[in-house]
Structure formats: structure tokens, C-alpha cells
Amino acid sequence: MDSHLDYTFRAMASDVRLLIGPRLRRTAPAPLDAADREKAFVLEFGRRLSRFSADSELSALNGDPRLTVPASALLRAAVRAGLWAAECSDGLVEPTLVGALECVGYAVSRDGVTPASLCTALDSAPARRPARPDPASRWRQIVVHDEAGTIVRPRGVMLDTGGTGKGLCADAVACRLGGYARFLVDCGGDIAVGGLGAQFEPYEIDIEHPLSGDRIGRVSVDHGGIATSGLNVRIWRRPDGSFAHHLLDPSTGQPAWTGLIGATALGESALEAETLSKMALLGGPDAARRVLAEHGGVIVHDSGEVETVGPLEDRLSTPAPSRAVA
């Protein structure tokens, strides 16, 4: 007899869902106790790393005038994940855009705020072009010292771990669930899958269309991560009537309009999948096909057209009706 705990709660301005299978180790707590424990972990994770909370560790770091700031292991891990994403994407997905995010109107949490219409925003959006890295590459000047327990960054550079935080959190919880036969950790759509049992009974994961909310397709995942980035949730109208969203072009500090409104990526971890999905969306259609070629993914064009990329083409149980690129 197989059994699963299905546990959902709200954290980090998203729905977090845990699916936990039977225990592998006799000493492991019951799945419900483990879920309670992981819920506390995720809430703590979000509380300490929130950019919008004045008393978070991240806000304390950003407000500290010193060049070298003591930082907890969690904060160092989160910043290191952001730097890893920047390194992987050559600066396209980077953690030093806090000032630009605040300038475009994302200074406070948008949790619970109804997003603006993406279709209307696309009609009035500027000409599409791929986002590019910031030539200044300020993220390269950030150093995390684990031995000293400090983070060193240039004066005035504020950090945002939100771009990679949910993926990192999903991976962290997945690591903590090693005593169970199979498990899935869904942090607001950034999903980590693991456990021996998942190798034999993979999880079915639906991909949601950013415009219609319909299911694009269903993919079986037996390990690693899958994540989606899109423009449809964190989008708003500015006082001048133009539209803005939270995925910025690092070279301009303005919202990126690249011809894509959504990208889903698979990866070896949720953090990698999240980074790849953001790279794909920010890079535009051509770059997305290259970025997603190895692990596979789905991109959604401004028109709503869906395109499967790489190995995912064969793994979608409901293939997208539009063209597929091998």
C-alpha cells in the first residue's frame, strides 16, 4: 500500500505544496510531522530573506553601511545562489537590481494585488528585444566568505534573493525530506522532486499557460526540478500609464519585453530550473531555444503560441498544438 501526504500552505507570497510519500527510515518522523516541520522552515526562510520586511536579515544587509557585513548561513546561501545564477547566465539573472525594481514600482510586496492585464500590456509594450547583462556587472564584486561568516559587497549595492529564492527553498526542503520514499516540493511553481520511489513512479506536473491558465501539457518528472517564469502575475500599470513587470533587463533597469511571456524549464534542481526559465524568458525566443535545449522546456510567445524545446517535446503527455523544436 502506498500513501502520500498532500500538504498545502501559504508562504513567500505563494502557495507552497508538499507531497510526501512513505518513510524510508524508521527514525524519520511521520509525514505529517515532517510537513509541519518543513512548513516552519519555509515560513522562517521567507521571513528572514524578504526584501519587503524591514526586520529581515536581507533588509539588514541592504541597510548596513559597512562593506563587510556579518551574515547567517542562510543569508550566505541565498546570496550565493543568486551569484550562482548570475554566473550561469553571464549576468542576465542577477541579484543586484533592487534599486531598479523599486524605480519601476516594485518597492512593496504585490501579494494579493490583482495583476494588470497582460494582453493590454503587450499591446502597448515597447519593441521586443532580448535583455542583456549590465556591463558594470556589479554582482561580480560580491563575495561570500563562509569561514568568516560575512558578505562583502560594494557600498550602495543592495541584493535581492527573490529571483532564486523559491527554487533554493524548494531544493532545501527536498534535501530535508531524504528519509522518505518520494516527495515533491512546490514553492509557488518552482518544484523539486526526489526520492527513490519517484524513479519508478514519477510525478505528473502540469504546465500552466500564462494567458489562459489552461494546461499546456503534463510532464513526468522523476528527479530534479522544474520551474516557470512569466509576466502574468507581477505586472502593474505605472502612474504614467505604461506597464511594468518584475523581470528586468539588467542593461537598462527596465522591464524586459523580449517576445516571450512565459518559460518553463527543467533542471537538475529547482534552483537550476528557475535560473534557466528566467534566462529563457529574458533572452527571448532564440536564446530560449539554446538555453532549454539540454534539459527541455516550454516557451510561450507574446501571441500565446506555445513551443516545446529540446527533450521535453517527447515528455509532454499532452503535446502543445503548435510547432516543436528539437
Binding site: S3, R10, A13, S14, D190
Partner: protein, 101 residues
């Protein structure tokens, strides 16, 4: 004729024929206590009797518990927990969805 003298046995208390009553009682009590101690020692050193463990096997075919807490503090507006188990794993873990968040 020679006279035969006969003496009749004396019927009085026997002064030194054996241990007195108190001694007998003390000896009896001592023997009793020794036997009691030996029995107690034997019971302690005896191998423990096997413990009969009762194993209750319970097969749960379907259980579902749903708990909803509305208005929880700390950004967790609502919590829904569901526990389910059944013979079919596929029916238990509904598909997750990856979406923009």
C-alpha cells in the same frame, strides 16, 4: 527371698531432655526464612519468561483528513492540510502545477 525393689518412673517435668521450646521455635523460624530466601533467589535468577507481544496490523484503505485554518497570522492566510492514503498511489498524489508566481 530376696526382696525385689522396683522403682516407678517419675512423672515430673523433664529438665534437660532436649532443647527448650523457644529454641525450637527460633530454629524453625530460621529454617523457614532460609527456605524463603533460597526461593526468592531462585526466582530472581530464573530466565525471564518470554514476553508475548501483540502486533496489530491495520490496513487503511482510504483515510482523508482535511483541516482548514482561516486567518492565520504571519502571511499564512489559510492552511489546508489533507492526509490521504489508499491502495492506488496514482489517485492519491494529484498532479502539481508549475506556473508563474
Amino acid at each position: 527371698m530376696a526382696a525385689v525393689a522396683t522403682t516407678s518412673p517419675r512423672r515430673g517435668p523433664r529438665a534437660a531432655a532436649g532443647p527448650d521450646r523457644i529454641t525450637v521455635m527460633l530454629l524453625t523460624l530460621t529454617v523457614f526464612l532460609v527456605i524463603l530466601a533460597v526461593l526468592a533467589w531462585q526466582m530472581r535468577s530464573a530466565p525471564p519468561r518470554p514476553v508475548h507481544r501483540t502486533v496489530v496490523l491495520r490496513r487503511v484503505y482510504e483515510t482523508r483528513v482535511v483541516e482548514t485554518v482561516v486567518g492565520a497570522a504571519g502571511g499564512a492566510g489559510s492552511v489546508t492540510q489533507s492526509v490521504s492514503s489508499s491502495g492506488s498511489a496514482a489517485g492519491v498524489a494529484a498532479a502539481a502545477t508549475t506556473r508563474t508566481s
